[in-house]
Symmetry: C2
Subunit: 493 residues, 2 copies
């Protein structure tokens, strides 16, 4: 290879204080691993010498601990967008030592190209292959890699031999033009291919770091009784919609969020015999989707990332031709694109931190202040879905927290976009209902019995109007939790 | 004409209690006028006889008083969606006698076709022309007319001779397919034509009512010092974006909301010499756009409705070839379509009832409970705009209400979608800023000086976290207004 090959530590020296750095990947899948770790070490060395060293971190979504964890522990991050799930990063954000801009995942690539957040100085990309003519083949996740490479003056490629070069062909990579020169995105079904199999750039911009590092894909909690019941309620709801003709008999593509509830719901849909074989158009391809692909229940999966546990990635790599025939990985600008989601008629299924009785959803903040992760792609899908569904257990913390409150302490998805809410108790179909009707529907069908009379009392205490809100009791549940340890002690005046 | 011609009163007899009725129009423009009035009379006669008579009312947006006013005063409406601006309707909604479902305007037509809200039994359409082969030419506004006609078993056409038949050619009418059979919407610039000039339906479904009734297009309040300053701040912001290269030199299409602030902003942009001639892609074409078209400052306008005052509509009808060459009217499914808005790179400008210091917007509810109008198209544009802007005077009610509060009492557009807020004091550019930074930026640049120290005190009282919210003081401004008549008396503990 004629391209410059360096060690990770040397690559880290090419990055300057105050640089904006764009990383490949979406979840820990597809993220570079060696250079960010070397960069964290370098930042600590600079700090020890009394030099400033903090960068802006731009990614597809969350990352591995080698990026968000290591860099934030080294106090090397000044700015972070659009999403994170790392405990150390979360603490730094909530303490105010990192400025965090929580953004719809589909928006970051275009907003970067529009120049809203300044330049991207360096792109760090995990690759399964790279050629002397500047063709870079990503690994398990893409995110903003394409845009970061095009914008960056320097592209550091982590060529990770743990990933087979034969991954080439699983990706579909097309960067959109900026307005006024943007044309249609020619995706008319889940399988549509519109781009190249690799990222093409000027090879003179590239330096290569060779690595052989496994993914750090962990496993989710197993399905328990409550998540299993949520899955069953969801499958039954979808069957009902098919029977009354509001979902076509051929079914529609599914998007599902991340975590054990998503896995439980996919399994329940997969094992429901009234639902035909179906396709997935989503951001995160999880373990459950791989099982369903192997069983033939999912006939095709379009995603932004292969965020599976390591036993699953090994199964995929052993049977790569099978999976390349049934799966495509796209940039986050396309996997989460409103145009495509609305056109394909995606059924979206995401989880909530809390919901209110009028159908607003909090996906991000605890008690309105502390952020958990961020919005992620839930807004991209919810706002544009054929039917948007939110899933949540009715309670948390042994029943002391009700997932359903008088008013959510932070609104990420509002009553105008949220169509259906499902808990282990049942399904609240909010379509066509006024706020008063929605409140009664949610209390009756989704709320834990321990909280139903409290919420009915709140509803009756509300001011006259379209939405019976009582500004004096609106956060009574949250205050009771903070003051007494349980929302059950909420006082409605 | 071989089609059945009846009087309005006879047409009203064809509508049954409990029917779902779809009306043409968007604002009062394009709405039928005679049949809804006859329907209100019929409902009163039925009620006098002890018979039930209440219908579901589906429209493009708000309507004329002959629909929302007359029908609600006759207690003839059981269900209303997606938007209204009528005082009697507003009271009925807030009293709970009409169930109102407030919805993104772009969503109603597709949600109707999906079957989410049941059948459309009757469509009532104002037309400038109708042929024996079932071609219906709309008038000044379309809304959901196309979908309502396709779905309805009976189509009542109000053929209103006040509108010239030569309007034919100003409309572009294409109904989208439902998933999984939906393809790209082939609009790649403001002027793109993708459909027919008329609505085509089975003539056997049509009965015609002949009328000659003028539009009831009123005028907005004149531009005052504050709205004029908001306009100036907006024009200067856009010039700044052009200079730093984040808006292309050829400029981008503008969407503007309804009312005197929108008129003021359009005038300010129109008279700013650094902004080139531009195009409009919007829902509501107002008087100011007509002036700018005549001046050549606006080179083309795509809208959903010609909601101009009657002196302006007369000017347009006298000079119809000029305006047909420079204007196109689309269905609300297309004028407000997320796919098109994002592709064209629309700069959206809408007004707020209140904003909070973290960048969330309330467009609909007073003190969280009483609805004013509804969401309208503001969500369609805000969520998908190139740059989304909200405009508001810093105070209302002689300074006793601050437009900027600790937390909005209802969230219609959240921090993730709102990019810029402008008051008469200045511009808060929220892009890339954390909630803490946004709060400081809004207080410094947009808040009225009388409220800055109160809001700074609130911000300091907030809980530790990404968003410094204080659940105990969060509605202190609203409570002070309710209890003392002024937000200036808010107590922050």
């Amino acid at each position: 290879m004629a391209m410059k090959i360096v060690r990770a530590q040397e690559a880290a020296l090419l990055i300057n204080d105050n640089d904006n750095v764009g990383f490949s990947g979406f979840t820990s899948a597809g993220c570079p691993k060696a250079v960010p770790l070397a960069l964290a070490e370098r930042a600590q060395a600079e700090h020890a010498k009394g030099n400033p060293f903090r960068i802006g971190v731009f990614t597809g979504a969350s990352t591995g601990d080698n990026i968000d964890g290591a860099l934030v522990r080294a106090n090397a991050i000044k700015f972070r967008t659009p999403y994170q799930t790392n405990n150390d990063m979360r603490n730094a954000i909530n303490e105010g030592s990192v400025n965090y801009f929580d953004l719809h995942l589909s928006s970051l690539a275009q907003d970067l190209r529009y120049g809203f957040y300044g330049d991207i100085d360096v792109a760090i990309i995990e690759a399964s292959d790279v050629t002397e003519t500047g063709e870079i083949v990503p690994t398990c996740g893409i995110g903003i890699a394409l845009t970061a490479v095009q914008m960056a003056k320097l592209v550091i490629v982590e060529l990770n031999e743990w990933h087979p070069k034969e991954l080439c062909g699983m990706h579909d990579l097309l960067e959109l033009q900026n307005p006024p020169n943007r044309s249609e995105i020619n995706i008319t079904n889940v399988r549509s291919r519109i781009g190249k199999e690799y990222i093409q750039t000027d090879p003179a911009k590239i330096v290569v770091v060779k690595t052989n590092i496994p993914n750090d894909g962990g496993c989710f909690a197993p399905v328990d009784e409550i998540t299993s019941k949520i899955g069953e309620n969801t499958a039954n709801f979808l069957v009902g919609e098919m029977r009354r003709g509001t979902i076509p008999e051929s079914f529609l593509p599914i998007q599902s969020g991340v975590g054990n509830i998503a896995n439980a719901v996919l399994s329940a849909i997969g094992s429901n015999k009234e639902i035909p074989n179906f396709e997935v158009y989503t951001e995160v391809v999880q373990d459950a989707i791989i099982d369903l692909l192997e069983q033939g229940r999912v006939t095709y999966a379009s995603g932004g990332t292969l965020a599976v546990s390591n036993p699953y990635i090994e199964r995929i790599y052993k049977n790569l031709p099978f999976f390349k025939d049934k799966m495509i990985l796209r940039t986050s600008e396309i996997s989460n694109n409103p145009e495509v989601i609305r056109r394909l008629g995606i059924i979206s299924m995401n989880t909530a931190i809390e919901a209110d009785i009028f159908g607003n959803i909090n996906s991000t903040h605890i008690a309105g202040s502390k952020i958990m992760n961020g919005l992620g792609g839930s807004g991209d899908f919810t706002r544009n879905a054929y039917i948007s569904i939110f899933l949540t257990p009715s309670t948390a913390k042994n029943g002391d927290i009700s997932a359903f409150v008088p008013m959510v302490s932070h609104v990420d998805h509002n009553e105008h976009s949220v169509k259906v809410i499902i808990s282990e108790y049942g399904v609240a179909d909010l379509r066509g209902k006024s706020p008063r009707e929605r409140a009664e529907c949610i209390i009756e069908n989704c709320v834990h019995p321990d909280y139903r009379s409290l919420l009915r009392k709140y509803l009756k205490s509300g001011a006259k109007g379209q939405t019976p809100v009582n500004l004096y009791n609106v956060f009574s549940f949250h205050k009771a939790l903070l003051e007494t340890g349980s929302m059950k002690n909420a006082v409605i005046e």
